[in-house]
Amino acid sequence: MTRSASESRAVRQDLAFAPKVERRTGSGFRVRLRGTVIALQRRSTVLGAFAFTIMLFVGASLYSPSGFGSRYNLQSVAIFAAFTGFAALGQTIIVIAGGLDLSIPWTMALGGIGVVLLAGKMPFVPAVILVLLIGLGIGTINGALVTVLGAPPLIVTLAVGAIIEGAIIAVDTTVEVGAGAVPATDIHLANATIGRVPVFFLLWFVVAAFVGVMLTRTPLGRKIYAVGANPRAARLAGIRVKRVQLITYSIGGVASTFAGILLAGYVQTTYIEMGQNYLFASVAAVALGGTALLGGTGSYWGTFAGAVTLAGLSAFLPMLGLNGASVDIAYGIVIIVGMYLSRGLQKLATMPLPSTDLGERERDNDE
């Protein structure tokens, strides 16, 4: 329940009379230090992910300065990371809330093909908006099915993916469209750079910031974490669990569609399988970013780092002489390793602090 400001004041006054507990106050500095240490501890999974990313990029650039470290390579890595990042945006939020979305590849394809089909019939911006709305609708359907059917999201979203595939073909059987059909604006957007940095990457960065704010500073974000961490407790605490889960899938639908639209612009063509690469990649990016695949904790910044790492890996592995398929193998290994990492770092993040504690040991004076 939310309250107006005056009601809140009333509540606070009510509580004022209560007998106060003796409080030990340490010096201001030590309290702040403790707060900082706790904050760092909690973000250890994300920090770890970024550290790994940096190590990979530094290492790869040193190994192959003109190959990996070239401007061209870094730019395309940045763009691939951004696509992965957008595909994984919905995935991250959905996973934090305890679900999973395997229909992403087809939703992406829908985005790309949809914008191509509509751009012939209406100006670019309305076409994009319409396609995004369709994506929202699909995401909502995913969410509705998962929450209403109560079946494993893995299977439900996989089935929905198959249905989307059929729907795409139903709308226009001549799905393979050539370069000329992709709207010019789209192509420009996907390929533009500001200085050396691709616009799309910057856009992704901005969006990541928004998502970060949403997850940490809005009531919805808080509920998403709660629902993923402990759905039973969330329900008993008065959260409408199904509604929250539904919303996460809806967001996922929009994000995937958006990624698909820009993907069409970047590769300048559209085809049914255009999103296939991003199925495993989205899950792997989430796992690598320290978000527990079981839900309840994590952050989109972690996925950001994870997506960048994966993009870097997929560019680097061929340079080591391994063929492209090794990337798929890498995805799988990354998911497993990511599980272990997030479990280990989770323990780190929730360890009771040692001596920065102001002397009082919690567990001693127990029953």
């Binding site: 009510d14 106050t25 961490a229 008993l236 605490a237």
Partner: protein, 512 residues
Amino acid sequence: MGLVLQHIEKTFGGVRALVDGCVEASSGEVHGILGENGAGKSTLIRVVCGVTRSDRGDMLLDSKPLTIRSSRDALREGIATVFQESSLIPALTAEENLLFGRLPIGWHRRIRVTTLHRQYESILESCGVRHLPATALVRDLSLEDRQLLEVVKAVSVEPKILILDEATAALGPEDTQWVLHQARAAAGRGTVVLFVSHRIWEVRAVSDRVTVLRGGRTVLSASIDEVDDDELITAMLGHRLEEQYPSRKQHRANDVVLQVEGLAVGRSCGPVSFQLHRGEILGVFALPGQGQRGLLMSIAGALRPEGSMTLLGRRYAPKSPADAQQEGVFLLPEDRVREALFFEHTCLLNVMISHTERRRALRFLIDRRAEKQSATATVDRIGLEARRLPDIVSTLSGGNQQKVVIARALLVKPHVFVLYDSTRGVDVGTKADIYRLIISLADEGLSVLFYSTDVTETLHLCDRVLVLEGGQIVGNVLSSDVDEETLLGLAVAKVSVADMEDEDYEVETARS
């Protein structure tokens, strides 16, 4: 010859469930085990049947040491248990369940179906049960039939130790008698029978000796003929440490806030009817599994019961706890770890989860400063240090964790506050804080439904007490009118003199 449990200790994460559990049960004897909730009897049973491992202590069977590390070990040693939660597999048939673990294997690892059937029929016959169809899936059987099957399964193994843990919970009088007969028959064959029940008359009817546990210790062990019911109840209650109960002014009858009519949940609870008044602390006292969960979860909106409820004059039929909270009913759940807390998150989140403070300007963002103030003020009231707010909840003690959940409830400012065994696993100091808070809330006009398994606490804290047994309200008394013995007596279905002289009361008199 027999089972000896010596000085069994078990601690679960800070809570000492068993401190000194001792039982001596001979072969051919039915040994009753009594105790309140939290007394340790369920833990003791779990140790014997392998579900839990003791921290310390010895077990001896026929003077030889007994090591049990898992349920498989227990089965191998000849310990058969009729579990409260049932160990039957719902997706398998009755006959498959009955002979699970000793299915007749024939050619190439294939089960001999006809042999299975024959064995099943003959076992049922020898136990005097005839009506359980062999090929029925257990999930399609009624609760009573399941429990009967479970008893037959345990008995037919001809175990060395037979444990009956609340085996008669779902049964009517005839079936109960049958179970008691089975227990005695098993004893007659030389089995050690441990009979756990919360119903004193049952224990008396079937046991030779009895052990009472309290506070994790064995406090009484005697032949059943040497003690009477009152002594048993006193042993279960005992004298506890003087706990601080804040004084309370006499509650005066007030308008009705919550009216419950004919509430029933499945087979476990109801129909039940009662009223809750404004500013009243209404206690609900029951031993485990008597329908209190169904009742309280229904009131809190987590279940959809039959019957009707009225809150503040309006029809109250919440479809979810969120609905219930909007109407002003808040539940403090039973298992704070599994049902209330978000373990890996901060206290602040845990406190503010049901009620967020939004920014005035950008309504979709959280106002962090206002939240911190509200949270600080609230946790002050319950006696939790505000500096713990940024800490992760898993690092707090049990008592402080409970305080976090209570703070959450306070922020919501409900009309009706439902507390489900909120002082379990909580230290004395926190308990005192909680009592003080509840009383001050009631003084402010909040109504409290306080379910507890602690008799003393119930009597001292509550104005009125409902006693639940077998899903029914068996007592609706003012706390000033009763003492602890009476209250517990109601909950343990102690048979009174009047009852026994009642014509309808069945007594088996067959004597050889």
